[in-house]
Amino acid sequence: MGNTKKKEAGFLSKIVRQQLFIPIAALLILAVFNLIADPSFFKITMGASSTGDPVLSGYLITILDYGSELAILAIGMTLVTAASGGQDISVGAAIAIAGSVILRVLCGTNSRPEELQTSVFVAFIAACLVAMLFGAFNGILVAHFKIQPMVATLILYTAGRSIAAWINNNELPIISEPTFGYYGGFIPGIPIPTPFFIAVICVVITALVLKFTNLGLYTQAVGINEKSSRLNGLNPVFIKFLSFVILGLCVAVVGLIKVSRFSTINYSVIAKDIEMDAILAVALGGNALSGGKFNMAASILGAYVIQFLTTTLYKFDVQSDALPAYKAVVVIILVVLSAPSVRAKLSQVGKKLHAKEVA
């Protein structure tokens, strides 16, 4: 009897030590909270989209929809965090730039075009290039000039939205072509929001890249010990740089989703504060914000959990201005829980409980 209990305790502590435990536990807590407070949170109904097609709607679908944007960003942010031991805070501004580029390429010189000047694909490729270029700018500042990532990306954070406005001569282009709305909305006949599929594609590509290249190993090695990595033939400067460029790519994808949602852009509001959620997703995934080892799956799950939290707060009529305060509480709890001293205390308490059980 005692033996099985011991095994159980061992099993339990094994689960607790798993990195995925943190986001899953957070998800469960949120789900249970909603279940008790108002089970209608989980209701999914069949509604109609703006084009009249039948689509799913409900809070869970909202989470799936907006959480996907975060998940895509979390991929890049995880790599940047792991390699450089810092975070990119210019993500929201860079999304504004990428979105602006897409609209500019689609509209040409006329801000209210009857038809698109080029295909969305071409516009998206242009946005990718521009976003990666800005990623490269951040990357050079961090990797080559060894500026703190937060400080380095502060430049683009400040200037990005002005650059975005400048790209379209401060005009607000509006796209009337309905197919453009598919990327951030629904594809007719498919009741699940498209961003989710885009996120799935990104996740699959990431998984393949991590499996069939050494990106993961190299990034972690550089994040843990740069000097030693160099002596093993790695180029830490390039790997850090690369992580920022990859984040740039993620930014372009989210930029497309964002401008597609409204078929227009609001330079000062689009993707505002999204970088904080992306960073939070990485942290909630149990990844050290000081870099080194990372778990991509945990970050991606973390992204959806953050969106779960945001949506829950909206449901309970928390003003959007007050949202950051609530999220701050989550951050504090996370940071405190992951502090080494607290961890040691917790494991001691766990041991004591275990000892009592056995006795």
């Binding site: 499996k211 069939f212 290249t213 050494n214 990106l215 190993l217 190299y218 972690q220 090695a221 843990i224 010990n225 000097k227 030693s228 990595s229 160099r230 002596l231 093993n232 033939g233 790695l234 180029n235 080194g292 080892k293």
Partner: protein
């Protein structure tokens, strides 16, 4: 004249998950005594000291201080300081950007105000009385490592420490600095301070210590008066067997065949880097073990770092098998079959949070290419193979390397480079800070690799270790190559005199 016992540790036990680090260990220290704590890596020395200083909580046992029969409880380094126990670690734990005086008094000022003038005066007085060559207002970083260590000791002395723990204080000092440190230790001894001295250098134990306590595998082997325990016996006690491995290995290296014989694998001419070494010439032959020797800071490491491309090479030519090659970064060297085990294991060698497996395969993986990762099965196979080959003691291949003992970490790094099958292996201080058993393993391995045709450069601050393995030695002084010794010239005396300059 029995001296007063100032510290008694009784029946101390401490376990970590999966390891019983200490099992019922007793330890006694008298006033005015220098007491060596000896043992291989993993014997429990550091654990014992960390229990004593409150870094770890002991599972069992009692600690008595100052002859009181009341047990003291030490839960933090602050507690330890309060009862008069101070520690000076191998790595300096002071703040290099503050002044000497600030470092001596930091964290100890009473109240909010600091009387800077008085602080500096007090500091100068103390430094003078201890004969430490530093000024109170001098920035700590501008002092040599030895002086920094002495400042740390001065800080301890000023805190009325009765028990001073020196944990590997000499491993980064040269001989003169060690002498100075010993002078200070003798001075403290005369003042009645009890000193616990942890070191890997046998010579130093016999030079300064009064007593030796030997630990092995977390258990107490015994406490001995220094005069009752000759070196051979001490080594035997530490290893736990009566073997004569040390002499066994002697003379196994094959003698140098002369400049004309043998095929030159790597040749450097006028090579120098931004690390401040003078241009040097160098060559190594197939199956040869050679070495760089010289005092600490003489440029031994800088030479091999230049060969490997670890520092920025500013000039010179390197030829491999007669063909000119260009090495501007470590990867170039690796592609040319050169491997380099760096001196600073913690900062340049291990990748701490990664597993033993990842640490073993990383160099080979980098050589194999970004788009060709080893499959999990392949990586595991290699890891298991080398763990077995080098007898690496680790719970599993998944264990993070940072939780291994120093000697085993070093073996992992060695495995990493052996896996790349280098033609030329550079080992910079591979045996520093690791236990005697592993040291002998590494020396034997070096000779075996050489006999199989690998060229090896072996650097060690222990000359006798190099004498046992190298057939040729490059001698350095003040960042310059000052001689090359081989054959009958390879003697301790000859090396000393070459280092010192001139035959005397």
């Amino acid at each position: 004249m029995s001296k007063k016992t100032i510290l008694e540790m009784k029946n101390i036990s401490k376990s970590f998950p999966g390891v019983r680090a200490l099992q019922g260990v007793d330890f006694k220290l008298c006033e005015g005594e220098v007491h060596a704590l000896m043992g291989e890596n993993g014997a429990g020395k550091s654990t014992l000291i960390k229990v004593l200083t409150g870094v770890y909580a002991k599972d069992e046992g009692h600690i008595f201080v100052d002859g009181n029969d009341k047990e003291v409880s030490i839960h933090s380094p602050q507690d330890a300081q309060r009862v008069g126990i101070s520690t000076v670690y191998q790595e300096i734990t002071l703040c290099p950007n503050l002044s000497v005086a600030e470092n001596m008094y930091i964290g100890r000022s009473e109240g909010a105000g600091t009387n800077w003038k008085k602080m500096n005066e007090d500091a100068d007085k103390l430094l003078q009385s201890l004969d430490i060559p530093a000024k109170a207002t001098q920035q700590l970083a501008s002092c040599s490592i030895a002086v920094q260590q002495m400042v740390a000791i001065a800080r301890a002395v000023d805190m009325d420490c009765k028990i001073l723990i020196l944990d590997e204080p000499t491993s980064s000092l040269d001989e003169q600095e060690v002498e100075k440190l010993f002078g200070l230790m003798r001075d403290l001894k005369a003042r009645g301070v009890g000193i616990i001295f942890v070191t890997h250098f046998l010579d130093q134990v016999y030079e300064i210590c009064d007593k030796i306590t030997v630990l092995r595998d977390g258990k107490l082997v015994g406490e001995y008066e220094i005069k009752d325990l000759p070196r051979v016996k001490l080594v035997a006690k530490m290893l736990g067997k009566e073997l004569d491995d040390m002499s066994d290995i002697k003379g196994e290296q094959k003698p140098y065949d002369g400049d004309d014989a043998g095929e030159v694998v790597l040749e450097a001419e006028g090579l120098y880097s931004d690390a401040g070494i003078k241009p040097f010439d160098f060559n190594i032959k197939k199956g040869e073990v050679n070495g760089f020797t010289g005092l600490l800071g003489s440029g031994r490491s800088e030479c091999v770092r230049a060969i490997f491309g670890a520092d920025r090479v500013l000039g010179g030519h390197v030829k491999k098998n007669g063909k000119t090659i260009k090495i501007t970064k470590p990867l170039d060297a690796m592609k040319n079959g050169i491997a380099y085990l760096p001196e600073d294991r913690k900062n340049d060698g291990i990748i701490g949070d990664l597993s033993v497996r990842e640490n073993i395969i990383i160099a080979s993986q980098v050589l194999r290419g970004f788009f060709k990762p080893y499959s999990k099965a392949e990586a595991n196979k290699f890891a298991e193979e080398y763990i077995k080959l080098l007898d690496i003691k680790t719970a599993s291949a998944d264990t993070p390397i940072k939780s291994l003992s120093g000697g085993n970490q070093q073996k992992v790094i060695l495995a990493r480079w052996l896996m790349t099958h280098p033609e030329y292996l550079i080992l910079d201080e591979p045996t520093r800070g690791i236990d005697i058993g592993t040291k002998i393993d590494i020396q034997k391995l070096v000779l075996k690799l050489a006999s199989e045709g690998m060229s090896v450069t072996f650097i060690s601050s222990e000359t006798d270790e190099m004498l046992r393995t190298c057939s040729r030695m490059v001698v350095m002084r003040d960042r310059k190559v000052v001689g090359e010794l081989s054959g009958d010239d390879l003697t301790q005396n000859k090396i000393m005199s070459t280092i010192a300059g001139g035959d005397k």
